[in-house]
Symmetry: C2
Subunit: 493 residues, 2 copies
């Protein structure tokens, strides 16, 4: 059938969708979520159909969302043809998995290809996620998924060995180890092409924190250049096209907070695989209020990483760490960035808990690549200023410049939360600290957040400051204060 | 936060969605599929957030889809407020079901309420469908679902007893028993408030066929008036608001053609329950190419209906019938409507297979309500012309008038498919017949379709016409012919 294009001007966020008038859809015998091939000159694209029930389109008009307009170079009022098309094969495979049947490499590859090329609607993708969640992916299927996700995306190839990487299963405020670890490891001469994420539900991701110093969004070619010069980079993974299927899967996992272990493994491993890492350190912090609640869960996940690492021929070391309280003092991009500089510049205000954790993790990395006395070596690199020098080299290559940490000022409005009694700090609630920091404005306000002044085990008197909230906005500060006053997040006994 | 509304002018097809600029969403700490409360004067609505990544919105603008605009009476450039809101409780319950936990009545009720009030995105609804499919609903959960679906919709209350209903598990072309059965049953003095569906994947639904005679879309009050006068009606269920959650569930089941038995039971029973039926006849035709493939499947489904009927205190009779070939001769709205009139008017051209099936089904209904010699009684009502008179009464009340079946002309273009050899007809493929009739234009072209001239068991010579294709469009006829020539759908040996 022939149609006149009507550009809708908004994006569907991925899926290729065209809108049909109800009458036209009836004539074509097509229902919502069926497929049509749209033909514009030499270009053809198969898209998902949605039906216009409110009279937005006249008969003979076809509504074109941004993604389809771009793909087929359609302009408003262009003449296009549309013919009915078969549903993608991958729908049969998703249905199969939902029915509990194991998928082979070819089937998973087809699904991933269709995801990456926007051939599946979000509803169809949700069925895939649900299928993998209820009929848990086998290790074999997980490996097919990793390989497909990597294959259907860009890859960073460096021709170096070893290539170091690290990953932390999140949930702990502060804990900004990455910039320090990358600086030490790269200063020692190792390659570390680090991609990091932005915050989704936390007060800051490593990418948000690095952005206080420099750019974090680069195309893969530029990323490669930076690494060739400095051995390392710290960039935002979201700006690259590494394992793009993963981002789309994560998007539909969100509403139900589905976190299948196999999906988690596949997601992390795909990102590491796509930058060609050979040695990967995984940190699993455990705590009641962290993502992983106890040693049992951690050990299970650890085993998963070790198995998949072996099958993918990657050297993986998994450490299980203490996640009962925030690590470092700053929570929020600028406050965390300042902690990083304090440590790298050996400032007396540096948080020792964060420094120790970084040194421990670097020593694990060193031991993976066969270096002896890793902890001492790491400490020496840090104390000698070589790590700071390396970090500044990376920052400069990423378009930033030197900053004096003592001149990094948190947001103007501040409020001290004080202890209402004397005693010893028994616990700090990660969830409440994160929530207050977010309400104060982190991460979108870089300078907002929390500065923690006391940690577990310390004795406090009545009236001692436990932490300070920083915010740019009076409203946000009021709201953050009201939460903190009713629930400090500190247990003192 | 304060926003200026930008009306998008298109409908999402249900879910209440607002679009936010990426910067604003970051400031609010909100991701795609999170919720915000939109406040316009005294009106408040919680909606799902989508993030505009292509610069359709300026900072401070909020994109409003039709459903939200209507609900909150928002006009373009109106000032509105938006604040972050909790996700609906039902997401926790859907997650629970996905984890294999049984849901209670309250939880199912909350899910259904959220579905009906457009509080769930299609992705979230798909998770519910997937959860009910992989972690099969228990009979108890199915009953909660039926009751919730009915409660969260309109109900027809008639204060009569008994109230008759029937349902056929589809898949057989032709087979247009409903108008004839309703006419006989109502002529016998029984009440039969029949709601029917339009075709989704078949060449015609009962509602499409009845529309050849009269209107089929009525509000529930008007439907009640028709029934009070004529004892019966034959209307399109889709125009009513009976168990509206069911329609939304069916929409997201479509892409994967998910047909969980518990969903099927719940869907059918909710529609019957919502018109207060007390005696329900269910027809399960079986054939390789029907929805139900064999006696085993049929018996399982039958048991399901019987159990749910008992629990809902409805009298249910399930018959398993032969579905190996189309029933009646006409396939497509007009051709089926003509068959109906031929039978009711005792025309010699009436299809005897369809007539016999109708009489058998009415006799089952009569026996359910305690009438003896049901078959003879039904036959007498049909032969006496009382059924025709009753049918015409219904047609007139629904705004139609008398038509002479011999003046009902199928589409102008016709093409005979002939046998290429002599022999006996061993099988007719329902799927191919349906497909050809649809390609010829049915149901959107009422007069398009197929007229079947030979049935299973008949002897044919080479060159005998097996069926005739009717179409209004040359293109469609060519396409239909090309399919029919390569695959007639008839097995002759």
């Amino acid at each position: 059938m022939k149609f006149k294009a009507k550009l809708i001007g908004i994006s569907t966020g991925g899926t290729l969708i065209a809108l049909l008038n109800r009458k036209d859809s009836e004539v074509m015998g097509i229902n919502a979520m069926d497929r049509v091939k749209i033909i514009k000159g030499q270009r053809i694209e198969t898209v998902v159909v949605d039906i216009d029930k409110r009279g937005y389109l006249k008969k003979g008009e076809i509504g074109i969302f941004e993604e389809v307009a771009e793909s087929l170079k359609i302009k408003n009022k262009d003449a296009v043809k549309a013919v009915t098309a078969r549903k993608p094969l991958s729908l049969d495979y998703i249905r199969k998995k939902l029915d509990g049947v194991k998928l082979n490499a070819k089937e998973i590859d087809q699904i991933v290809w269709d995801i990456v090329h926007n051939k599946l609607s979000d509803v169809e993708l949700a069925y895939f996620v649900a299928a993998c969640y209820t009929n848990v992916l086998t290790m074999e299927e997980t490996i097919y998924l990793v390989k497909s996700m990597v294959k259907n995306g860009e890859m960073l190839k460096l021709n170096r060995y070893p290539i170091i990487d690290k990953h932390c299963i999140g949930g702990i405020p502060g804990n900004r180890t990455t910039p320090i670890i990358v600086a030490i490891v790269a200063a020692a001469g190792y390659t570390m092409p680090k991609t990091s994420s932005r915050s989704i539900t936390s007060p800051a991701g490593t990418a948000d924190t690095m952005e206080v110093f420099c750019n974090v969004s680069f195309p893969i070619k530029k990323m490669e250049k930076i690494i060739r010069k400095a051995n390392a980079c710290i960039v935002w993974g979201g700006a690259l096209n590494l394992a793009p299927a993963d981002d789309k899967i994560i998007k539909v996992e969100k509403p139900l907070e589905i976190d299948a272990e196999s999906q988690l493994l596949a997601s992390i491993m795909a990102k590491k695989y796509s930058v060609s890492s050979t040695h990967i350190l995984i940190d699993i912090p455990i705590a009641d209020d962290a993502k992983i609640k106890n040693r049992l869960e951690a050990e299970k996940l650890k085993k998963g990483f070790e198995t998949i690492g072996k099958k993918l021929r990657k050297k993986i070391k998994v450490i299980v760490t203490d996640g009962t309280q925030p690590i470092g003092n700053g929570v929020g991009p600028l406050l965390e960035a300042r902690d990083v500089l304090f440590i790298l510049k050996r400032d007396t205000k540096r948080p020792m808990d964060l420094e120790k954790k970084c040194l421990m993790m670097v020593s694990e990395i060193f031991s993976m690549v066969g270096e002896k006395n890793g902890y001492e070596k790491a400490k020496k690199i840090l104390e000698s200023g070589k790590a700071y020098k390396k970090f500044m080299e990376i920052v400069r290559l990423q378009g930033g410049k030197e900053i004096n940490p003592n001149k990094m000022k948190p947001a103007k409005l501040s409020y001290d939360i004080v202890s209402s009694k004397a005693g010893t700090i028994k616990d700090i609630n990660n969830f409440i600290i994160s929530r207050i920091a977010r309400i104060a404005g982190a991460p979108s306000e870089k300078s907002a957040g929390i500065y923690i002044r006391r940690h577990i085990g310390e004795k406090v008197r009545r009236g001692d400051t436990l932490y300070t909230i920083y915010s740019k906005s009076k409203d946000k500060m009021e709201y953050a204060k009201s939460i903190a006053v009713s629930e400090k997040g500190f247990v003192i006994k």
